[in-house]
Amino acid sequence: MRFALFQGCNIPARLVQYADATRAVCRKLDIELLEPDQFNCCGYPARNLDQRAFVLSAAKNLAVAEKAGLDMLVMCKCCYGALKKAAWVLGADADLKKDINAVLAKEKLQYEGRVEIKHLLTVLHRDVGIDNLKPLMAKSFSGLQIAASYGCHALRPSNVTGFDDPVTPHIFDELVEITGAFSVEWARKLDCCGAPLTGINDRLAREMAAKKIASARDAGANYLCTACPYSHIQFDWVQNQMAAETAGWEPLAAILYPQLLGLCMGIDETTLGLSNNRLELADISSFLMT
């Protein structure tokens, strides 16, 4: 399997361990990841400003992947949602597509609509498959309770994103459970982490994060699990800020899914960049059985 790896902007700048862990896991799975240099912003942050800017930015990435003849493996759920949305909008609006392609022509690019946009989790679940992943588990967690955070922009609007069932999603839970960990049922599993308003309305953003974290803790989770840089930074960095400002706050650390999977595949903690997470993750190894 070959994919164009789409990291987006947050991961190379602020969450390198997510890319490192993903590459390490994909090596084990014989998934070849290529990273076209021409990829740019997925368009997500421009959605509030200008629809055309958003679609144009997204479309350039799609056209770059098409030119390389590759489907996209997207690591960020906000990027995933934005790219899916742009492809959907372009599919429905021929005039817009023509307008966008006229701009892309300056970059010697053309978007036709052939590229498939996949998220890391859908690649693992659908393209690789749970049954093919299981034999690769060198180790297994025991007694570990994980709260999997699905991520709004991957789940909804489900007719556009096609990520999973929007009401009773299961792919992330199943991916968590092949590691031997138990994926807890938690009330706010499908809710917003607050990241879209971080930097804009921090109070509201943090209230959203706090509710989600409390819900995971109430369900007995030892860790949150993420597969999106926005959610992860929200749970890791922002929660760290919140803990520093709030007396008696017991942080609930978040682990990136490829880090969790990588540990069971026998990939070492340094490659997976566990220590790059801000909240302490070292204890997770104590749940690991060989």
Binding site: A13, R47, D50, Q51, K106, R156, P157, S158, I200, N201
Partner: protein, 609 residues
């Protein structure tokens, strides 16, 4: 003054100099040439000192006002001392070899650009050290130096041709290629023109001198000291036949005996210190090209004119160097070394500030950053060139130099600095090793305080500011730009919810055209309020309406009534988490969340004007 004309070695130059009053070698007193040279040298030195002093006195961003220039100088000196006496010195050597001499960061960007820049860099260095400073360097180090013998005669021409080839590539790239987002400004035109003028006049001078009959006679008189007319004529025949001389007296075909006699004179008198003119290949080619008009050019004083152009262009280029982008010759190597040596996490704030000022001078406006900018397509759509990193750098230079910017300019640069995804690619790609990412962080905060309210603050472009920059800022300075933007764009929510707000009953259909085509799904709404019920933002407040203005179902209702303006003023749209619960749960497939996005677009368009 003895740079060009004092040594008997530089005979050809001497020969010219005797003919030009400006440069006439007159023994012990200074000539006009000397005055011009020293004037431009002094301007260059003072200019460089002034520009370098800015590195320690100017700043961008919310700098500590108590940080004196002396403190910054001391920190820089301390840092450098520490570096010299530590293993980090190896990094300096690495930077000098890989980044400066081999220009490794340029080849990573583009092999063609690397080749062109290497040609200019090494060609120019050779000309500077061997040719321009010959009296100081070449003569001192190479006892056999004559500008008219090899390898010097050939190398001077080769170096000129190298620079010219590099400049030709730059012209091709700047004016003919369609590199996306490569913008060419006055500074870039200047750099190309000054190099082209110096090189073309230099090669032109050689070409003209090769053809020039008056030059030939002068040299015969000065160096060969011949007075036998027959001998001179024989020599002239040889120079016409083999060396490109254009003579009014003799013309081919030549008698074999004459040539043989001329060759003998040539060997006895000329070849000792003058190789065949063909070694100056580009000058020689030029000589052949201008052959038909060479006589006229010679009589019109072409050599004098080109010599003046060449010398004046060189002096002007030298004097203006600190104020042009050619200043990068001095600054970029320092920036490249700093890039290897300085770890921004541990660098003292004083040194970081100083480095950022230096980096403004190290920028060559090459466009690598803008070509690779993650927000490149956002620039293409929004059209504000200041979104592009390379253009921001140009603006910052003006800003730092104390130029007052209008509110509109501040708004444009503010938006440009803000519409950045903080992805670091500009920093990764910069061939000058400038840490643009940190520059943006600094500039952004300063601009946010100064600039008018920016709608862009209310978008996820703020994410990095919220998770990275917030920790370094005073709470007030962090909140102010957000409050300013929110008050400007969403401040009308009070008016929206106040009972007395007038609802125009004659609202025209025009208003709904503010939304995109096909965005009329609000008309399917039957007011079941599912969107509001599932909205986590509404659910966050006991009394949501005073906070949010209109709730999602009310916004859909307003749109249904054609009250787009009213809907676009509700604070709700800016507090929307875009979690799509509303849209997913709508039994009527109203695209609630997408409509809120559209309303934000409408509000931003109105705010941007």
């Amino acid at each position: 003054m003895k740079i060009l004309n004092a040594s008997p070695m530089t005979r050809t130059d001497n020969a010219i100099l005797t003919r030009f009053p400006i440069a006439k070698y007159t023994g012990d007193y200074w000539t006009m040439f000397d005055y011009l040279l020293y004037a431009s040298l002094i301007i260059f030195l003072l200019g460089s000192i002034y520009k370098a002093s800015n590195w320690f006195t100017k700043n961008i961003g919310p700098a500590d006002p108590d940080m004196a220039a002396a403190q910054r100088l001391k920190a820089a000196a301390g840092g450098m001392l520490k570096m010299i006496f530590s293993p980090k010195f190896l990094l300096v050597l690495k930077a000098i070899v890989i980044d400066v001499l081999l220009q490794g960061r340029v080849i990573k960007e583009d092999t063609g650009r690397w080749l062109a820049h290497m040609l200019i860099f090494y060609g120019f260095m050779l000309l500077l050290l061997m040719h321009a400073l010959d009296a100081v360097i070449t003569e001192a180090w190479f006892a056999d130096y004559y500008p008219t013998v090899n390898p010097y005669f050939f190398l001077r021409d080769l170096a000129g041709a190298m620079v010219l080839a590099g400049v030709a590539f730059a012209v091709l790239r700047r004016y003919l290629s369609k590199t996306p987002r490569l913008r060419t400004g006055a500074g870039d035109h200047y750099a190309i023109i000054i190099l082209a003028v110096i090189m073309l006049s230099g090669i032109g001078l050689i070409g003209l001198k090769i053809t020039s009959h008056s030059e030939f006679l002068l040299m015969v008189e000065d160096y060969a000291g011949l007075d036998d007319e027959e001998q001179i004529q024989a020599l002239e025949a040889v120079w016409v036949k083999d060396y490109g001389l254009v003579s009014p007296n003799v013309a081919p075909p030549f008698d074999e005996d004459l040539l043989a006699a001329g060759q003998e004179v040539n060997e006895d008198n000329c070849l000792v210190c003058h190789v065949s003119t063909q070694w100056a290949f580009s000058g020689y080619i030029l000589a052949k090209v201008i052959e038909p008009v060479a006589g006229a050019l010679d009589r019109a004083g072409g050599i004098d004119i080109l010599w003046y152009i060449h010398i004046i262009a060189c002096f002007a280029g030298l004097a203006y160097l600190p104020f042009s982008k050619m200043f990068h010759i001095l600054c970029t190597p320092i920036s490249l070394i700093a890039n290897r040596v300085m770890d921004p996490r541990y660098a003292s704030p004083a040194n970081t500030l100083t480095r950022q000022m230096l980096e403004l001078d190290a920028c060559t406006h090459c466009g690598s950053c803008s070509l690779n900018c993650s927000a490149g397509m956002i620039y293409e759509a929004v059209g504000n060139p200041l979104i592009l990193p390379s253009e921001k750098m140009s603006y910052l230079k003006q800003w730092v130099s104390g130029k007052n910017l209008t509110m509109a300019q501040l708004q444009a640069i503010g938006e440009g600095v803000y519409l950045c995804t903080n992805c670091d690619r500009c920093t990764v790609h910069c061939p000058s090793g400038i840490r643009l990412k940190e520059l943006w962080f600094n500039v952004r905060e300063a601009l946010l305080l100064k600039a008018p309210p920016l709608p862009a603050v209310l978008t996820p472009f703020s994410f990095a500011r919220g998770v990275v920059v917030k920790d370094y800022l005073k709470a007030d300075n962090y909140m102010l730009p957000i409050e300013k933007a929110a008050a400007n764009i969403a401040g009308q929510s009070a008016e929206v919810t106040a009972g007395e707000a007038a609802i125009p009953l004659n609202a025209t259909a025009d208003e709904s055209r503010q939304l995109g085509p096909g965005d009329n799904t609000f008309s399917h709404c039957f007011s079941c309020q599912s969107c509001t019920t599932v909205c986590p933002v509404v659910g966050n407040y006991e009394q949501p309406e005073p906070v949010l203005g209109l709730l999602p179902h009310q916004i859909m209702c307003a749109l249904g009534l054609g009250l787009t303006d009213m809907a676009s003023k509700a604070k709700m749209i800016w507090d929307c988490l875009t979690c799509y619960q509303c849209q997913e749960n709508c039994p009527q497939q109203v695209q609630v969340c997408d409509l809120l996005y559209q309303l934000k677009n409408v509000a931003v368009r109105q705010a941007r004007g």
